[in-house]
Amino acid sequence: MSVSEKKTRIIEPDSLIGKRIPKMDAPEKASGRTRYIHDINLSGQLYGKILRSGRIHALIKSIDTSAARALPGVHVVITAADIPDQRPIGVARDHFPLKVGRVRSQRDEIAAVAAESEEIAEAALKLIKVVYEDLPVISDPEDAIKPGAALIHPEPHGADGTHLHLKQGTSIAHRGKADNIAMRFDYAHGDVVKGEAESDVVIEDTFRLHYVTHCCMGVSGMIAEFDASGNLLMYSNTQVPFLHKREFAEYLNMDPARIRIIQPPIGGGFGSKLDIYPFEIICLFLARAAKRPVKMLFTREEEFLASPTRQPVLLTLRSGCKKDGTLTFRQVHTLHDNGAYTSWGATTPFVMMQTFSSLYRVPHCDYHTAAVYTNNPYAGSFRGYGNLQATFAIEQHMDMMAEAIGMDSLEFRLKNAQDSGETTGQGMVFKSCGFKDCINTAAQRSDYSRKFKENEANRGKPGNIKHGIGMASMLHVGGGAKIYPSDGCGTILKMDDFANVTLITGASEIGQGSETVLSQLVCEELGLPISAITVVNNDTAITPWDVGVHASRTTFIAGNSAIGAAKKAKAKILAVAAKKYDAAEADLDLRGGFVIKAASGEVVVELSKLLRNLHFQDKAELVMTTFYYEPPSVHQGKDFKGDVSAAYAWASQVVEVEVDTDTGMVRMTKITGAHDVGRVLNRLGIEGQIEGGMVMGQGYALTEDLMIVDGVMRNPNFRDYKLVTAPEIPEMDIAFIESMDGEGPQGAKGVGEAPSICIAAAAANAIRNATGVRMFELPFTPEKVYRALHGQTPKRYWKPWKAE
């Protein structure tokens, strides 16, 4: 050892947690170098295009593809008849990728072409002749449940792709349905009749939630290629590569082990890539038939027409409370417009019932959903997963009940709000719970109580601009959600001889910044700068298993998994160092790229040197660890009861609006959000997620409206489907409540979905505060608001109905 090295060097403690860490992939993205699916081309690649129905509900009498097949440059044309082994896809397995005998919605896939160029593929589609026989269209879910309603899925489908003449002995893939009910959910705790009897005030209202869609800026697409041995390589933007690998294998009748999925960076997800869609299977069929790579990209119009929507809901809520402000019961009936096929939208009751049963303490709760088939577009999962819809109803009722018993709405909320330590009627256990803090913080920061009273007093005064303030709160899973028997994630961590870390995680990055947060957690554990880590997260041939990106789970689940692997690596390193430098393991730590003495910060050895030593000299050992994290949550049974998440996230948001009573125009001026996120890991990232979510919520409340008339989408473009633009954004004030969750990685909980959930509900309360008028239907467009202000909106009532 040289003399200079002997001089004691002290490394001061430092932490990455809570800092503003720029996203690791941002420099590439900001230079236009990132290669999204759209930017990847394989040699020999063909271009796939799909012919869609255009009819809403019709029998397919004949399809003539001969002219398309004859067009120069066309390699393959397929219809259902060409794929005898086609199997139904989707959450209820009620959806053939290429339609057999019948089309049920505008987006339905009839045929597909693979050609030398997109232009040729499009020209070929125009040459395909289809003869239809129109059937009556059901576009209103209330019509779908009327006795004698036409059926959307009457006939069984054979696994051989035909349905009209099921051959004897062929297996039935889908049995058909004797009614239009796709799915139903029934949940109860307590006894609502008793609850109602104890109530001093009971109110009942119908709420109608509309269609909106994800509008990811990058349109959907994929590339599929079968190699010479029949192995499949897919470039895909799925959020759930491992589960989908299995499903793709089922649909292709092949061994899942022979499928490899590479996930290029994604141009936005928000839940839209949680299901498998017909275009993906069709692309695989084309690639299989053409024996060439096939790339398929949507146009923006197709993206609107053929990607999923948020679940539209018709909902009647009956709530009661006592004069002292205690909630007594809640009864909920919803009619979910399932569209023509079943995707995740139908399952949003999983989340909705949590909000009804457990956001506030409710002794008696009764919840029913029927998801019914119509000829409309079908809904998938979308950030918030039913919670925007549920919160819209519940938080308006909170204000209305407070008003009915003459109690301050804040006090009313606080009286019924959950606390930590509570187990709800649905069996959710709230370990860390900053709900009351959220309510108080959002109210104080926005000066809610004073403004509320002032606005009320100003309602009757002259002037067409009225100011309003409204509050809403939410509960959402924040520690994964055990919707499958496992909710786990695997990690492989290796260190090289320069003390650089490669983190191989099952968790996909979908633009939310998980890569950066996971890096932070690992580097924090190993005392390394963030520049010392490389993340591999996009190739099923390399990465360990994970359930997928959904339910705000990635930071929590993948984070705990990454920490687990890092802890094992650290233990190994410290054990080696302790032995080599004759110290106790417990007295050593890792900091700033060095092994140090924990008490003083004094350097023992440079980490990279120790690792090199380990490789070359000592036992020729590598530091490489694996970890699989499974959260301590419960897979709910048929009664939907149990502690489904390892932690729960809370938030209260206050929305301020200006309503122009002359025009019905609503301007959102400010959003104040208080979010219980457990702990802030990356301040820059979490602010960005929350702001983005708030503005998405603003769009849901004010501008976005996918207009479906008789099953026809009227506005499949950005001109007529209005996303919020930069000049319209409100001032945003965000407060973090750090409840330090005991199970969370460094105390953190999931936050991805939370910020958009309350906005529409709070805006409705704000409009009421400004004008005295209550809005039961979204979105609050000038026409709707103007009509409501001028008493031209008859109050809708949907009589509760539940499937027998």
Binding site: R20, P22, K23, D25, A26, P27, E28, K29, A30, S31, G32, R33, T34, R35, Y36, H38, D39, E119, I120, A123, H214, C215, C216, M217, G218, V219, P265, I266, G267, G268, G269, F270, T299, R300, I510, G511, Q512, G513, L684, G685, E687, G688, Q689, E691, G692, G693, M694, V695, M696, N717, F718, R719, L723, V724, T725, A726, P727, I729, M732
Partner: protein, 160 residues
């Protein structure tokens, strides 16, 4: 299948030629003929700004411009902003201020912002918001994008 036209133009400072279909738009030419994929397709109808480039110093939606109309013009794409100090400051500000999430809108945003800052060197937040009105972003809620653009300009102003 259809008529081709030979055109000559300057792309990111380099003179070049291309043979393009008369119906082709500039976005398709950049991506498919020339192979520069930093310019993005978001809608193809002039509604999202993902395809923003600069032509003769003015920002426009490349999806709305016929490729043949590039003849004799000077085009700059996100790839061509490499050697411009204003653009460097912008890119850095986008990274530092968290203005990038999925990143799909980012190249178009930066092209638009670069044009904006050349035109309005002292743009404040309100001016920036109006300036990027035609660029949609689904991830960020715009706030951090506006912060980044304002900061980039401030950084430029205070830079020695």
């Amino acid at each position: 299948m259809s008529l081709k036209h030979d055109i000559e133009f300057t792309l990111n400072g380099v003179k070049r030629q291309a043979s393009v279909d008369v119906t082709m738009n500039t976005l398709a030419m950049l991506r498919d003929v020339i192979g520069l994929t930093g310019t993005k397709y978001g809608c193809g109808e002039g509604e999202c700004g993902a395809c923003t480039i600069q032509v003769d110093g003015v920002s426009l939606n490349s999806c709305l411009m016929f490729a043949v109309d590039c003849d004799g013009r000077e085009l700059t794409t996100i790839e061509g902003l490499a050697n411009d100090s204003k653009a460097d400051a912008l890119r850095e500000a986008f990274v530092e201020h968290g203005a990038v999430q999925c990143g799909f809108c980012t190249p178009g945003m930066i092209m638009q912002a670069d044009h904006l800052l050349h035109k309005h060197p002292h743009a404040d937040a309100e001016c920036v918001k109006r300036g990027i009105e035609g660029n949609l972003c689904r991830c960020t809620g715009y706030k951090k994008i506006v912060d980044a653009i304002v900061a980039a300009e401030d950084g430029q102003r205070t830079a020695p």
